[in-house]
């Protein structure tokens, strides 16, 4: 089943088209990777799809519903979660609290119940914290649960964002360079994590420059260049595409990708 479909997306900044005519679709349990040179428009595409930028053109559908132009929180409520290339963690909250915020949509939030701390609130809090700890465990951060997120090293923050995004129990998860700042071994862990997520039936859209990772786990790959789609296909097709080689992979990397 197609969870997220974007068609003919375009947006410009100060008259310059940052993306133009990009379409993609991703099914439940599928991993779609979007790759392309720096500045190709990958993050911008995420920003449009997740409602942070208003589109000039195109249409976004989430589980069959037209959600173009909907605010991010409305999209989140319909099952879309994401992480950020430039970290957006809640610095002054602990790691566990960061993830608890991620569960916002799974909680009942009633101002009066909260102000007077009705027993239901306390009960719910306990459940939310349990869930958050379990998620932190999943990304290997259980030990840092009560540390302030602002003091975590870069790699840990990236994983914290994934845990927070998963906390909302999304139907589609957009990951913007989750493996950036991770060494090969840590990247391997991300690899496992993303596979597990997809295995649960969540649609995953992955932006990543680590070709080993991308080639290994993607079902399909969309290549952007200069804001336009360059090609789309299976990892093998993409890897062998000379245009991709030239614009993005480079010779040396092509070999590396091939090994994956």
């Amino acid at each position: 089943m197609t969870i997220l479909a974007a068609s003919n997306i375009g947006i410009s900044f100060g008259g310059v088209k940052a993306i133009d005519g990009v379409s993609f679709a991703v099914d439940a349990g599928q991993i779609l990777s979007i790759i392309g040179p720096n500045g190709a428009g990958k993050t911008t595409l995420f920003n449009v799809v997740s409602g942070l930028y208003e589109t000039d053109q195109g249409r976004v559908e989430l589980v069959g519903e037209d959600v173009t132009g909907l605010a991010p929180d409305m999209l989140a409520a319909r099952g879309l979660s994401r992480t950020f290339q430039n970290l957006q963690i809640f610095q002054r909250m602990t790691a566990a609290e960061n993830v608890m915020v991620g569960r916002h949509l799974r909680e009942t939030c009633n101002l009066f119940a909260d102000l007077f701390r009705l027993p239901s609130v306390t009960r719910q809090n306990r459940a939310t914290r349990e869930a958050a700890l379990a998620l932190l465990d999943g990304v290997g951060l259980r030990g840092s649960a009560d540390q302030l997120a602002g003091s975590l090293p870069y790699g840990a923050c990236k994983r914290l964002e994934i845990a927070r995004a998963l906390a909302a129990e999304p139907r589609v998860l957009l990951l913007d360079e989750p493996a950036a700042g991770c060494n090969a071994v840590e990247t391997e862990e991300i690899d496992q994590l993303v596979r597990r997520v997809a295995a649960k039936g969540i649609a995953v859209v992955l932006v990543e420059h680590d070709m080993k990772l991308v080639m290994k786990i993607s079902d399909r790959i969309l290549v952007l260049e200069g804001g336009r789609p360059l090609t789309e296909g299976t990892p093998r097709e993409v890897r062998d595409n000379p245009a991709v080689l030239e614009a993005y992979l480079g010779k040396h990397r092509a070999g590396e990708a091939a090994r994956a």
Binding site: T43, N47, Q85, N86, Q88
Partner: protein
């Protein structure tokens, strides 16, 4: 028509006063993102020191110079004794420190000087100049001219000199500024000294019109702050535009609507402008990528 021009000139005069104060905010803001609530006290110092030094028999131009030097000294002391030791603290904390400094400076001024109002003679006499039927104090031209000179200098400094860029860089990212070799402490000291000088010059120029006393700073700072925000914080041209606009709003509000509600009128316009342009008239658009 003469009435219109009178309101116009009144607005420009008052507006230039606000603009001068607003300009003082710009430098410190550009170096640190901090609104220096003691800025009004620099304006007060400029006027009061000139008055008292001149009263001691020193010729006016020299007295004015002494006042500027004194204000700069106070600005630097403020930086070294109160801001620098709190380096790394949040902007809110620094703002509260400047509020504390403003209380302190006002308290000190009332002991050191007195609580009376004082005036300075107008630089070129009091005979009003007739402009399209409006009677204008000659001092208004000094204030307008002073505003023009300061805004041009400040603009050129920030936009055209490397040191000016270093000031902006310090506010944009303190860590990166230190990594490229900017001595952020010196830059901040410069900003505080510079805005103290601007404040003092403002005080000297406006005192012949507004009169001065130990506590003129508070309201001037408030209006100057409003002007700076209306124009768009951090942009010297915006500060001047905001100041003049605020002055005009008050004058035309008082003239054509109601003098009692002229402040209300001015603030309502500010609110409306900000709703339409959340960064003021000429504020820099900040782009923050995620």
């Amino acid at each position: 028509m003469a009435e219109f021009f009178q309101f116009l000139m009144s607005g420009l005069t008052v507006g230039a006063v606000y603009a001068l104060v607003a300009l003082g905010f710009t430098l410190v803001y550009n170096a640190s993102d901090v609104i220096n609530f003691a800025q009004g006290e620099f304006v007060m110092l400029g006027g009061m020191v000139t008055v008292f030094v001149a009263a001691a028999g020193v010729p006016l131009p020299l007295a004015a110079l002494i006042a500027v030097v004194a204000a700069v000294a106070v600005g630097l002391l403020l930086y070294w004794l109160a801001i620098e030791p709190a380096r790394g603290a949040s902007a809110v904390t620094l703002i509260i420190i400047t509020i504390g400094a403003s209380i302190l400076l006002r308290g000190a001024a009332q002991i050191l000087f007195d609580k009376q109002f004082h005036k300075l003679p107008s630089f070129s006499g009091d005979a009003p100049v007739n402009l399209f039927g409006a009677a204008v104090q000659p001092q208004s031209f000094w204030v307008l001219g002073g505003t023009a000179v300061i805004v041009l200098l400040l603009y050129a400094f920030l936009e055209r000199t490397l040191l000016g860029k270093a000031v902006l860089a310090t506010a944009a990212n303190r860590l990166a500024a230190r990594l490229v070799g900017i001595n952020t402490a010196t830059v901040m000291a410069l900003a505080f000294g510079g805005s103290a000088a601007i404040g003092a010059i403002a005080g000297i120029l406006i005192t012949p019109i507004t009169l001065t006393s130990y506590d003129v700073g508070t309201l001037l700072a408030l209006k100057g702050f409003a002007a700076a925000m209306l124009g768009g914080m951090g942009n010297p041209l915006g500060a001047v535009a905001g100041g003049l606009l605020l002055g005009l709003l008050e004058a035309f509000g008082a003239g054509y609507i109601s003098s009692t509600y002229k402040d209300a009128f001015a603030f309502i316009v500010i609110l409306v402008v900000l709703f339409a342009m959340p960064r003021g008239l000429f504020g820099r658009r900040v782009v923050e990528r995620v």
